[in-house]
């Protein structure tokens, strides 16, 4: 690896984008837009509170950091990610990306070049906002320590989102679609996933700059804002981390996964996003991160939305939780592990053509089988590993929950582990087999008709009228997505104090488990037949 490739200002690709993106006309136009808008908003926020005597000059100057920070986020995160995603897709569409693939620069150097080169205009526009920031720091007497912590996480977030854009650009072949997807991913990472923190999934919150912003910026604001500051340290299993360091570590890990994806796509466009072994490691890593950040929230009740809300509004916590909440939290964990498994398995399962390619190769080379780690090999073994991780983690999670004071009076069936194995194992294996012998289209249609449709129909029936609740439960449970939730409902029995919403849930779970268990051997035979045919076909062709 050449050192000059890593020093991005000497990197040929970075220099190329400095030339292309910083041409005078474009630079002057964008600079004017940013300076005028930032100047207007900044001055407005600075002057208005002073004029109405709400704040002192120093306080008003401190307040300006909020709009300034939002503008900076927009420039570097939103616009920057779009620049990266659309830029890399354009290179791919034009065909010039292949030229770069052929240069002897290291893949790392190429990625660095694109990562800093494509959004170079956005970095320059960010620099133009710095005089305003300096004014804020000087007049508002802002601690440089706070500023350092804030901008450390800001830049790791920026890199993460740019890498998200890069990944989208490498995977999606249409320019504007890639830009759109990268921004959708960003919105998902920034607004949708963090909202799950109310259900205990605080891990997602640390993928954003929000916890750090709340914590650090609130120290700059008048005291009445202080109650919004809820986090100073983060508990991960039995360890304590500062908000800043935890955010940086979590973002760096996700950045690493995205980097691996880009690296693989860079080396060969036809590669899967992640190798099979690394897919399992990634899955395990995400599950560990989820559990590590969720388990410490059980005892203080913050994992339950009701208790979290009471704490937020400074209402004394109660000593109990509602049955629905008690079922929701473990059930949702099962659903999340299932969804993550579907995503990971979806990208690592080879298409028919890829499998055929692998078979032809081993036949030609007189080898026994495709290496299990190769893209062309079956993903069944890695799927089983993922199911193992999912089932174990889910059982551990349920065990921790059940031992907590919140579940006093509840009885956990000693056969609950069978429910977790069935409700995760069967849907995931069925999905994998459909993907492998039927291809993505069949798997997608099966998910749509077999899983989503029953979910929607069941929910509608259950809310339509009381008489349809039981029928709705049966239909809803046909969905693989709802299956884990109802396995929890079947395994947990509440004492007489509470009434469970769906009294038929246990029976329905048994029925649907039987349906899945019947379907499984049929699909397994089909899957087996598919591999026999594959074996025959490779010999016919050669």
């Amino acid at each position: 690896m050449n050192l000059s490739e890593l020093l991005f200002w000497r990197n040929p690709i970075f220099i190329r984008y400095c030339r292309a993106k910083l041409r005078p006309v474009s630079l002057i136009s964008w600079s004017l837009i940013v300076l005028i808008l930032t100047g207007f908003v900044f001055t407005l926020v600075y002057l208005l509170p002073q004029r109405s005597d709400v704040m002192t000059r120093e306080e008003a100057a401190r307040l300006t950091i909020i709009p300034l920070f939002i503008i900076q986020c927009f420039i570097l995160m939103f616009k920057g990610s779009f620049s990266v995603a659309s830029g890399i897709t354009r290179e791919g569409m034009e065909g010039v990306l292949d030229y770069q693939r052929l240069t002897p620069m290291s893949s790392f150097g190429k990625i660095i070049g694109y990562l800093f080169g494509l959004p170079v205009l956005d970095y320059v526009l960010f620099l133009l906002t710095l005089p305003f920031l300096i004014f804020t720091v000087v007049v508002g007497n802002v601690s440089l320590d706070i500023l350092f912590r804030l901008y450390s996480v800001f830049f790791t977030s920026v890199l993460l989102y740019h890498m998200t854009g890069f990944m989208a650009g490498m995977v999606v072949s249409k320019r504007f679609l890639a830009g759109f997807i990268s921004q959708t991913l960003m919105i998902g990472l920034y607004f949708i996933l963090p909202s799950f923190s109310r259900l205990g999934y605080v891990f997602f919150e640390y993928l954003t700059v929000r916890p750090v912003v709340y914590y650090e910026l609130s120290q700059l604001l008048p005291e009445e804002f202080e109650r919004y500051v809820k986090l100073d340290t983060v508990n991960f299993f039995n360890l304590n981390f500062s908000v800043v360091s935890f955010s940086i570590v979590i973002q760096a890990l996700l950045f690493f996964v995205f980097f691996m994806i880009v690296l693989r796509k860079w080396k060969q466009d036809s590669h899967h996003l992640l190798g099979k072994h690394f897919s399992v490691i990634t899955y395990a890593g995400i599950i560990i991160a989820l559990m590590g950040s969720m388990l410490p929230l059980i005892n203080n009740g913050r994992i339950f939305p009701s208790q979290s809300a009471r704490r937020f509004f400074e209402v004394d916590p109660t000593s109990y939780i509602s049955p629905n909440e008690a079922l929701l939290i473990p059930g949702l964990f099962g659903i999340v592990t299932l969804l993550l498994a579907i995503v990971i398995i979806g990208q690592m399962t080879p298409s028919f053509d890829k499998q055929m390619k692998g078979q032809r190769r081993v036949h030609k080379l007189n080898e026994n089988r495709v290496d299990p780690g190769d893209d062309e090999s079956t993903s069944i073994f890695h799927t089983i590993a993922i199911i193992g991780i999912a089932v174990i983690s889910w059982n551990v999670f349920i065990g921790y929950l059940f031992e907590s004071r919140w579940y006093e009076g509840w009885v956990l069936s000693k056969y609950s582990w069978i429910g977790t194995v069935l409700s995760l194992g069967l849907p995931i294996l069925i999905y994998q087999m459909l993907l492998e012998f039927g291809g993505r289209r069949l798997a997608f249609i099966s998910l749509l008709l077999g899983w989503l449709l029953p979910l929607f129909v069941g929910v509608l029936m259950m809310i339509a009228t009381d008489s349809l609740v039981n029928a709705g439960t049966y239909i809803l449970m046909l969905s693989g997505f709802a299956f884990p939730y109802f396995s929890v409902e079947a395994a947990l029995t509440v004492n007489d104090t509470f009434v469970v919403n769906f009294p038929e849930a246990k029976k329905a779970f048994m029925h649907v488990a039987i349906i899945y268990a019947t379907l499984f051997p049929l699909l397994f035979m089909k899957w087996r037949q598919h591999h026999v045919e594959l074996n025959k076909k490779k010999k016919e062709v050669l």
């Binding site: 220099i15 190329r16 292309a20 770069q100 052929l102 002897p104 032809r360 190769r361 030609k364």
Partner: protein, 340 residues
């Protein structure tokens, strides 16, 4: 000017070529796209300093072969080496010694010509000054020095091809892979390309070049291979291959353009001993003439005298579709095809 360019190329390569044998070697190469097999068990070896022309119609497997050679595509299986380096095992090493130019090669629309070349000169490890010098040299080789500061998007198709050729020469490759490099080029550019390639070849650079027009390559290639449906159908010296395919002094394809359809004309041609493979369409008749030039003139004169509704005559270039029609079976020798 062209001679100067060639001398320049020779000078540039004088001290850079390694003494070891340079070659492209492909064994049992197969490339599949879903149900379609683009390349089937292809075997090919090209010696140092050779200009090997791979000729075939669209969809014959030329571009797939080039993409595998250029490390841009993983084959289903097969062994491929360039300059003795196994490109599947060690693609990054191989990339240092070959230059690749793809069919209808693109250029970035937001860069000027020199910026585009400078990017790749630096990417191949040249420092700022060396890169500038090399960019100028390569622009001179392709006769585009005057377009140095023009935006790439403002170039014509032919000029774009030449710029990309210049890019492919920046790192002084030992092997050049040129997939349809002449498409879009005007006559002068084609002549310039031929001379450049000959000069490179004379200094030991191996060139693998593709085209769907046989005659386009026959004048510069030391060897040609005819490829169709992913297999080499014939190979050898261009004159031998062309001769075998019917393009010789005593065999050419004539196209007669008609004012209207004429059955008597078809019958008349079919009766001629030196005429073969008469093909008709609504407004023309095409046939192969096996006689000498004098006999050809006699035949055309007789057609005019017989008052057939003829509009004009033209001699058709032997294109690869004609060639492939003449070769139905692949050449098989000692377990595969080999150019040498």
């Amino acid at each position: 000017m062209l001679r100067d360019n060639c001398l320049m190329v020779i000078k540039l390569y004088q001290n850079t070529m390694e003494t070891e044998s340079l070659a492209i070697q492909i064994s049992d190469l197969r490339v599949d796209y879903e149900d379609f097999t683009a390349v089937k068990e292809l075997n090919l070896s090209v010696g140092k300093g050779e200009i090997f022309g791979l000729v075939g119609p669209n969809g014959a497997g030329k571009t797939s072969t080039f993409k595998v050679l250029a490390t841009l595509m993983e084959p289903t299986y097969g062994e491929v080496s360039i300059g003795g380096i196994d490109i599947l095992e060690n693609p990054s090493q191989a990339r240092k010694i070959f230059g690749y130019m793809q069919d209808l090669a693109p250029v970035p629309t937001d860069l000027k010509v020199w910026e585009f070349l400078d990017l790749f000169a630096r990417a191949y490890g040249l420092d700022k000054h060396a890169a500038k010098r090399r960019v100028d040299e390569c622009l001179e080789i392709v006769n585009l020095s005057d377009k140095r500061t023009v935006y790439c998007k403002a170039l014509s198709r032919g000029m774009t091809q030449r710029v990309v050729l210049a890019k492919s020469l920046l790192h002084m490759p030992q092997v050049l892979l040129l997939d349809e490099p002449a498409s879009g080029m005007d006559t002068l550019s084609r002549v310039s390309l031929r001379n450049t390639l000959k000069a490179l070849s004379s200094k030991g650079v191996t060139v693998l070049i593709s085209s769907h027009i046989l005659t386009e390559l026959s004048s510069i290639c030391t060897q040609v291979g005819i490829i169709n449906e992913g297999q080499i159908l014939d190979f050898g010296k261009p004159s031998d291959v062309v001769g075998r395919l019917g393009k010789s002094d005593s065999s050419r394809v004539i196209k007669v353009l008609l004012l209207k359809e004429s059955l008597p004309l078809i019958e008349y041609l079919n009766d001629q001993a030196l005429v073969a493979n008469v093909e008709t369409s609504e407004a023309s008749i095409q046939f192969q003439f096996l006689g000498s030039l004098v006999q050809q003139v006699e035949l055309l004169k007789s057609l005019m005298l017989k008052d057939f509704p003829i509009h004009s005559f033209e001699e058709v270039e032997v294109n690869i579709e004609n060639v492939v029609l003449n070769l139905s079976k692949p050449v098989v020798s000692n377990g595969g095809q080999n150019s040498k």
